[in-house]
Symmetry: C2
Subunit: 188 residues, 2 copies
């Protein structure tokens, strides 16, 4: 879907499906590609492009509540992992939980420790490993931000009626479940 990122200046057709709002930017981009390469099947672009664009827009919007608390999203993801699991996690566990590299976790932990949001303690058995846990301040911060976050997300998603939200959620769950299963099997 990479080649479809973009906001074409002059609309290139793209007849609306339902009839409400006219085409999104992805439809316009796909139209441009179709005009240049009519033989290509642009179907995949319409899905992958929209997923990416939605993710970008939603993240941008979502940043607002977090920034008020002085947290970046990756930082909040890390704190959230500690909060939702309810117990201490090692840096490598945090890396897996947040889908990020160990080096990135190390850096974030340094900052979050300085800010007094997490604490570290060494393992008594294996002195290589560290155990990280939320401080009271960290836990309170997460608990304060999370409801704001969810409320904001809820408001943003209200552009879709509840039944559509349900269908979308289910389709994405199926796609994600299978992607997570099959990933790594493909090597083009």
């Amino acid at each position: 879907m990479t080649p479809m990122q973009g906001r074409p200046t002059e609309g290139a057709g793209a007849a609306g499906t339902g009839g409400a709002s006219r085409g999104d930017t992805v439809a316009a981009v796909v139209g441009q590609w179709q005009a240049v390469h009519p033989e290509l099947d642009t179907g995949p672009m319409e899905i992958i492009g929209r997923v990416n664009r939605c993710a970008a827009l939603l993240q941008q919007a979502e940043d607002a509540p977090l920034r008020r608390a002085g947290l970046s999203r990756p930082e909040f993801d890390l704190l959230g992992a500690l909060r939702r699991t309810g117990h201490e996690l090692t840096p490598s566990e945090l890396a897996r939980e947040t889908f990020s590299s160990g080096a990135a976790v190390t850096k974030r932990l340094k900052q979050l420790t300085e800010r007094g949001l997490v604490e570290r303690r060494g393992d008594t058995r294996d002195r290589r490993v560290a155990h990280v846990r939320l401080t009271d301040a960290g836990r309170d911060l997460v608990d304060a931000i999370l409801p704001e976050q969810l409320a904001y997300e809820s408001a943003v998603l209200e552009v879709l009626d509840p039944p559509s939200q349900g269908e979308l959620s289910a389709l994405l769950a199926e796609l994600l479940g299978r992607l997570e299963g099959h990933m790594g099997a493909l090597r083009a």
Copy 2:
């Protein structure tokens, strides 16, 4: 959806919707949150979390064909914008088309110019503006990569049957269209 990024080690319930593969990672994370904060409405997380996670997985997978050509995704997006519009674009137009900052475009243009994929020419009227176009090599590269890209995307998406792909595409189009319309109206 921020707080839901993660891959819980121990599954926390999450009954499957249809019945095929058991829950995705998002369902597991949501389950963990529910256990800690049962009063929260985690509905939004299920959508936004999945959108983000799908985007991450799809991008990661998609990188393969591009990297073989020695291009990053943002670089290819820039070349693609030039190819699909069919005419020259100024740096600021490229920034809008690729949803990136002007500074980022400047850097990419420098590299792509050095590699001989794009050319610049100054405007004769307004000497502030530059016009960027693909070189023959740049155009050929895009035309060579695009079909590979689409074929690969198509293969990845085959985890969903065609009707589901259609529904997903339509729902995402509606969500994206409205988000693009309403964005900026919300300030939480």
